[in-house]
Symmetry: C2
Subunit: 256 residues, 2 copies
DNA sequence: CGTATAGTTGATTAGTATCAACGCTAGTGG
DNA sequence: CCACTAGCGTTGATACTAATCAACTATACG
């Protein structure tokens, strides 16, 4: 079901970052499932096969950097399984996570210059990779595909703008509530339950996504737990007990 | 040179907001200039004429709302002259400005649902409007055009991500320095001088763009003026005296 | 010229960051 | 299988940036 582990040394993270394991493999079932939500959706069987011909897969360990901000953009990626984070760094190490990605999400679009962000796995993750040139040629042939990716870029833009509102104008509590609701909605879209939601990323990742510190994120979680809005059954999981309250909190109806 | 004033009441802002003045007018010179940087660029003379056939122009007063967040997306717009702001509102009135637009900038792209933001003029502004359906059909015929708009969306996305870094991780001084540098660069791209830059938007607009308050923006301006980094020769204008210092400040080298 | 609005400056407060310590969990090796 | 250890997460005390509240000044407009 999952592509065999690529031949790099898991014990040495530096070695793991050297190369993207370039495995040419037959279409896998996971990717067929993902197809419905991924950017290959809506393509006829024949078109899909042509698209599939220019891709390759890889199973990557947690903490694996696929590309860095500024790298020449040579591939577009799609997550088949697992979770990724995209981030930007400042010279002094401050980090802003631009987004989290799950199965079906695409990343790596960059037109003129290089990639605008670094892409790193959060947990062991399987991705499909598409060569840029081949994809470009394919887009000329399949206008359906281009339109599909175009629409995806516009949706990403809308999401980024929503996040700008969050970062610029929301309080810590509102930020965390919004984050949890969004995670839940996205889980639903992937056919997963809305309530015990996987929370694969660390507190540091959440903090850097919401423009907060680890401590504030932690404190806010406890506060929401005390309010009865959420529960933290196990590490890496949240249960949304009171979605209505969370929605109120997300928009500023702060019941202190 | 500029299209005649549309027939709505400038004295009554409510009335002004009712309708987009639907003026069918011959291609104007301003728009031809803008063409080089706007999304119609790179089209052959014939293709450009076809694109021109589906557009209409309007000259709008300051503070004019072209569309609101959530409105059904029926048109795409391009600024010919003037300045616009795009923003999102929260239920309690908190506002986040998503971006400022100047001559050559496009806005109004929205795929599935309605517009993701409200679009309002900052000063008297001239815009071109393109019907969505017609543009859609035209994109099918002119892949060049679709690719062009696609690229624009990807660049907008990168800009939004850069702004996420600013909003989430930069200090007030870093935010303002970054803002001024970006304004200056964009002015240059439009063929204007880099240094005395027009600052058509209010302090409130700048504050809502940078995730600050009016007072903090004002204080930071004075601070930068005292540092010798900028000068405020007249209302609505900034001179960037020390770009190197501003660049250092923008990235966090805070010379207090 | 007078008034309304936008912008500046000052005093105080509040929210989040920072610094610091502690507890828990997961992974490791005996 | 269990003890050990490192890293992650939580909690507390304090500091600091930017928000808020308030007054004043400058600018634009009628």
């Amino acid at each position: 079901m999952v592509v065999p582990m690529p031949p790099f040394d898991f014990g040495d993270p530096k070695a793991a970052e050297r190369d993207f394991p370039d495995i040419q493999s037959p279409p896998c079932r996971t990717c067929d499932v993902v197809r419905e939500i991924a950017f290959c959706a809506d393509l006829g069987g024949d078109d899909f096969r042509r698209l599939a011909s220019v891709r390759c897969h890889a199973q990557l360990p947690a903490g694996f950097t696929i590309f860095r901000e500024g790298d020449a953009a040579e591939h577009v990626y799609s997550v088949s399984r697992g979770a990724m984070k995209l981030y930007k760094l400042m010279s002094d190490g401050r980090r802003q996570i631009i987004g989290f990605l799950f199965a079906g999400d695409m990343f790596g679009l960059a037109f003129d210059s290089g990639y605008a962000y670094t892409a790193e796995t959060v947990i062991p993750t399987q991705v499909c990779r598409f060569g840029y040139r081949k994809l470009d040629m394919l887009m000329d042939e399949l206008p359906q595909l281009e339109r599909r990716i175009f629409a995806k870029a516009v949706r990403d833009l809308a999401a980024a703008q929503e996040q700008m509102l969050l970062l610029g104008r929301k309080t810590a509590k509102e930020k965390v509530a919004t984050f949890l609701l969004t995670l839940s909605q996205r889980a639903q879209q992937r056919g997963l339950p809305a309530s015990p939601v996987g929370l694969p990323m660390s507190r540091a990742d959440i903090a850097d996504y919401l423009g907060l510190t680890i401590e504030t994120v932690s404190r806010t979680f406890t506060q929401l737990r005390r309010d009865g809005a959420i529960e933290l059954p196990a590490t890496g999981h949240v249960a949304l007990l009171d979605v209505v309250m969370l929605e109120a909190l997300a928009e500023g109806a702060d019941c202190h």
